[in-house]
């Protein structure tokens, strides 16, 4: 009944095309074969960097023909950016970066025979497999919140149709309404994002619906960048955003879709628009391939990103147990490069040099007010540990914040070119 993961959805058109392409893949030459499941940030980056080396036969499996980035999608929700500007295809990767893309669902993996089965029954053999499964939502943590409830109370935590739905609801909301954001427990994709969303929607409300309020019902008692957010909320949107921690509400337990309300331990909150961001776990194909442990996430070697549960299979991105690394697009991209060089080393005998893992995120408080962090990580004792953290400070000048917001836009175009290919 709950059919959460986008990768389970198979389009017929995609199936037919992929079937035509598959025999070509199957009879490929003597180069080592790498199959990558999942064409999000992690999968696309691994495939692109392996493809560029031209020493391996690289196949990327992704159901969708277009990928919409989650990062910057809060700008879309606030009416500051089009969804088209956040949408990327895989054409540049196939044309310029030496890899094949099959738009079809991977339905199964057999680590014993090292094969991936596609929806149409075609099997692809691999020497190394990468599973970049992204996230799925834990069902049952919030009663009544399932796939059909998400069509009324969107999560918008995978960008695309869910983002469009939430944007439409915010646009049609009357002035004076309450926009309720239910923020998830740790760990989850993009820790500052629920609060960036509140900031940018507040910016939209301030212009068009100034009597409206935003209420964040959090499953946590603190959150990423809290000081920076709260200072900015007071400065830009006084009285508009209210944040209630778990210790106050006891967290959201039930949603009432018909009444468009959410119920905590002690109270019912009525929403004009409700954005429910559920608790998360690794994407479905990771779970199905038995790459996840009891936590619901995938344990990996922090140098090679090879699963510690299934040899020959690497996992990168939001679905891994990343130690100190947050689940962000930048972290994922950084892991994917280390993973690609580790795979190249094991299959082609190239050298893997000590990896450098980074995270740097830009977070918008208003269109001309953004903050950033920069964190370096290193593998240590089987885990990923923080080396150093730098983060914007409360009280920075407006000029510094404006420059950061400007840099964020430049970063976006460079980063997406890195992932989806130069010229995309």
């Amino acid at each position: 009944m709950t059919n959460w993961t986008r990768r389970q959805i198979c389009s017929m058109a995609g199936g037919v095309l992929a079937a035509a392409a598959a025999p070509h893949v199957a009879r490929s030459q003597n180069k080592p074969r790498v199959v990558v499941i999942g064409g999000g940030i992690g999968g696309a980056t691994v495939a692109r960097y392996l493809g560029d080396l031209k020493t391996m036969d690289v196949t990327l499996i992704e159901t969708k023909r277009r990928y919409v980035t989650c990062f910057f999608s809060n700008l879309y929700l606030a009416g500051l950016r089009s969804l088209a500007s956040l949408t990327f295809g895989f054409e540049v990767l196939t044309e310029r970066h030496g890899l094949k893309v099959i738009h079809q669902a991977a339905t199964g993996v057999d680590p014993g025979t090292k094969t991936v089965t596609l929806r149409d029954g075609v099997r692809l053999a691999y020497d190394r497999l990468v599973v970049a499964a992204g996230i799925a939502f834990k069902s049952g943590e919030i009663r009544n919140y399932d796939a059909s409830a998400a069509e009324i109370m969107p999560h918008a935590w995978n960008a695309g149709p869910q983002s469009e739905l939430l944007r439409r609801q915010l646009e049609s909301m009357e002035d004076g309404g309450v926009f309720v954001i239910v923020a998830p427990p740790d760990p989850f994709r993009c820790p500052p994002a629920p609060y960036e969303r509140a900031s940018l929607v507040a910016y939209y409300f301030k212009q068009f619906k100034p009597r409206s309020k935003i209420l964040i019902l959090d499953a946590k008692d603190r959150f990423s960048g809290q000081e920076l957010f709260q200072e900015a909320w007071g400065r830009h949107y006084p009285g508009m955003i209210e944040w209630l921690p778990r210790q106050f509400t006891g967290a959201v337990k039930i949603v009432d879709v018909a009444a468009r309300s959410v119920v905590t331990e002690g109270e019912t909150f009525k929403a004009a628009v409700a954005n429910i961001i559920p608790a998360q776990k690794a994407g479905a194909i990771a779970e199905k391939t038995e790459l996840t442990d009891a936590s619901g996430w995938c344990p990996v070697d922090p140098v090679t990103f090879e699963s510690t549960l299934q040899r020959g299979i690497h996992v990168v991105g939001d679905s891994i147990i990343g130690g100190d690394m947050p689940k962000s697009a930048f972290s994922t991209n950084s892991q994917a490069k280390a993973c690609a060089f580790a795979i190249a080393a094991s299959l082609t005998g190239s050298q893997q040099f000590p990896s450098h893992l980074f995270n740097s995120c830009y977070t918008f408080l208003a269109p001309d007010d953004a903050f950033t962090n920069a964190i370096t990580f290193t593998p240590e004792g089987g885990k990923i540990k923080t080396v150093e953290t730098f983060i914007s400070k409360v009280g920075e000048s407006a000029e510094v914040r404006r420059r950061t917001a400007h840099q964020a836009v430049g970063w976006y175009s460079a980063f997406t070119a890195d992932v989806f290919g130069e010229g995309s």
């Binding site: 809290q226 200072e231 007071g234 009285g239 209210e242 921690p245 106050f248 509400t249 009280g395 510094v400």
Partner: protein, 108 residues
């Protein structure tokens, strides 16, 4: 500065002699007076320095808050139900501003 928004969570009705929980929170930055702005100037202290709860005309709970208390101070305490009446919650801010809420409680 954040516009302080107070909120309390109180049961609507309780039995006589029952011990019941009260949760109180106020959206407040709790500016410590220890930070500086981009020009190096000290940002003046502005915190919620006190909280009082009255049950009818009786003060039943009081807390003094200091700089080390985190933003959005949260308090949870317990009262014993005696009679139906008004619960009043008062937050005191540096500079003398007062934020308050009241709540009618029914004792059965």
């Amino acid at each position: 500065m954040t516009t302080p928004v107070p909120r309390v969570m109180v049961p609507g009705s309780v039995s006589r002699h029952e011990v019941f929980p009260i949760k109180a929170i106020i959206q407040h930055e709790m500016e410590t007076g220890l930070r500086t702005d981009s020009t190096g100037q000290v940002i003046p202290r502005k915190i919620i320095n006190g909280f009082v709860c009255r049950y009818g005309s009786v003060e039943v709970f009081r807390a003094d808050l200091h700089e080390a208390v985190a933003a959005n101070p949260f308090l949870e305490f317990y009262l014993r139900a005696t009679e139906s009446g008004r619960l009043e919650f008062i937050w005191q801010e540096d500079g003398g501003a007062i934020y308050s809420l009241s709540h009618e409680i029914v004792v059965t």
